[in-house]
């Protein structure tokens, strides 16, 4: 037992970081460790975006095979491993959604409202708490409507066209709303970085 045991989540997070580094150095066994630690979170993401069990599982396989083949792209200086993996999985799922193999996922457009708070995942799978607080604060500073549309884009993988249709507004209006929201978001996030 170490004299100053760290919290389990910090240890798990460090283990994940180490596994990513080992994978980047060609240690294949590290992938299974990463898979065990992150599959629940990443599958939650691909399932949410794709809305179809089979598609989401295929996407998940691609995520890990891709990770194995290109683990060197992960920069430990830049992002926490779980943040990076989460973005990676979501991007792959969105790519799959856009290839036309899945059309729209299973979540109807009408239900693409802002998400209720849901049971959080195990602590170690949470992205850095400070960073999380800041993005929520900056998103929360937007008006409810803009925030809702940005969240629907993020969580449901909706396009401008789908968002405009759901809100029954012209495409140009939706683009304008979201772009202004993104601009404010950027200003807010950059201000927090400068602080």
């Amino acid at each position: 037992m170490a004299a100053h045991p760290r919290p389990a989540s910090a240890e798990a997070r460090q283990a994940l970081r180490d596994a990513m580094a080992r994978l980047a150095n060609g240690d294949q066994s590290a992938l299974e460790e990463i898979y065990r630690a992150t599959r629940v979170k990443l599958f939650g993401i691909t399932l949410r975006i794709l809305g179809d069990q089979k598609e989401a599982e295929d996407a998940l396989q691609d995520v890990y095979i891709n990770l194995w083949q290109r683990a060197d792209r992960y920069d430990p200086e830049r992002a926490s491993p779980i943040a990076w993996l989460a973005a990676f999985a979501r991007n792959r799922a969105i790519d799959r959604l856009r290839t036309g193999k899945v059309r729209g996922g299973a979540v109807p457009v009408e239900e693409a409202a802002p998400l209720p708070d849901e049971a959080p995942l195990a602590d170690m799978l949470m992205v850095d708490a400070e960073q999380a607080a800041q993005i929520h604060k900056c998103l929360g500073a937007l008006d409810d409507r803009t925030q809702g549309h940005i969240r629907a884009a993020f969580f449901e993988g909706h396009t401008y066209a789908q968002l405009a249709e759901a809100a029954d507004v012209p495409l140009g209006t939706m683009k304008s709303w979201i772009r202004r929201g993104l601009q404010r978001l950027r200003t807010c996030l950059e201000a927090s970085e400068a602080a």
């Binding site: 939650g44 830049r78 959604l97 036309g100 049971a119 995942l121 884009a153």
Partner: protein, 257 residues
């Protein structure tokens, strides 16, 4: 607030950081997505900004409930890894010989490293592939079986399709990395045999992927120096039977490396 929100184009500048944000959010489609991916590969500032947005958005995923994938998912991953790597050790000499050639194609054809890596793997492990001797022993054999490459640039996007044919394995690799589907069209690849003759379909291109296919003998026989590739725009699923092919959007010639 609602008054001004109803006015479209209210002076928000759609600069690169904005496009990076739209992309990170997943809003880009079709041509715009294509352009963004091209820019990501060539513009470090843009790539940095995309990553910046990805990093900031990542904590939002904490609100997504986790889910347990089926046990077969890991089996599939393990099987694919094993297939790609189990024979690496005994084939070491061959790998080195082939690596040198892969480097040569990269130089000649500008193959993406991903495509090259996969090509290398396929060369080594393709079933029924006669073992390749060490370099120097059989230069004639290597020359005769030299891979053929074609680069098919897509308009002025800076993106392209890389097509590699590997005679030893009768396999063709189509790398459409960076390409994306617009959800309305598919792109179909056609071979124009060197001596002329009927177009042969090589199938619909899978955007963003490196695909490997085995070529039937009748198509492989038309694949020589100077054979030409055409890329046409078709309805989803490819050219319907009994209808003329769609417009040619890109073309390129095969050369032997």
């Amino acid at each position: 607030m609602s008054g001004s929100d109803n006015t479209p184009d209210s002076g928000v500048q759609r600069d690169d950081p904005m496009i990076a944000a739209e992309w990170a959010l997943g809003l880009l489609e079709g041509e715009e997505l294509l352009a963004a991916r091209g820019k990501y590969a060539t513009d470090p500032d843009f790539a940095w900004r995309k990553q910046w947005w990805d990093d900031w958005f990542a904590p939002l995923t904490d609100a997504i409930p986790g889910a347990e994938p089926g046990a077969h998912v890991w089996d599939g991953i393990a099987a694919r890894m094993a297939a790609l790597s189990s024979q690496q050790a005994p084939a070491q000499g061959t790998v080195i010989a082939l690596e040198a050639r892969v480097r040569r194609w990269q130089w000649v054809a500008g193959l993406t490293s991903a495509a090259a890596a996969i090509a290398l793997t396929l060369l080594v492990f393709a079933p029924g592939n006669a073992p390749v001797e060490a370099p120097g022993d059989t230069p004639a054999q290597i020359a005769a079986a030299a891979p053929m490459v074609a680069t098919v640039p897509i308009g002025d996007t800076g993106l392209r399709l890389d097509v590699t044919y590997i005679p030893e394995s009768e396999r063709m690799l189509v790398a459409a990395i960076g390409l994306t589907a617009d959800g309305v069209h598919d792109h179909e690849l056609w071979l124009v045999p060197a001596g002329g003759g009927e177009l042969k379909s090589l199938g619909v291109v899978a955007p963003g992927q490196v695909r490997s296919m085995t070529l039937p003998a009748d198509i492989a026989s038309g694949l020589n120096d100077g054979a030409r590739l055409l890329l046409t725009q078709e309805p989803l699923g490819g050219k319907p039977a009994g209808v003329d092919a769609g417009p040619v959007v890109a073309e390129g010639d095969f050369t032997r490396v």
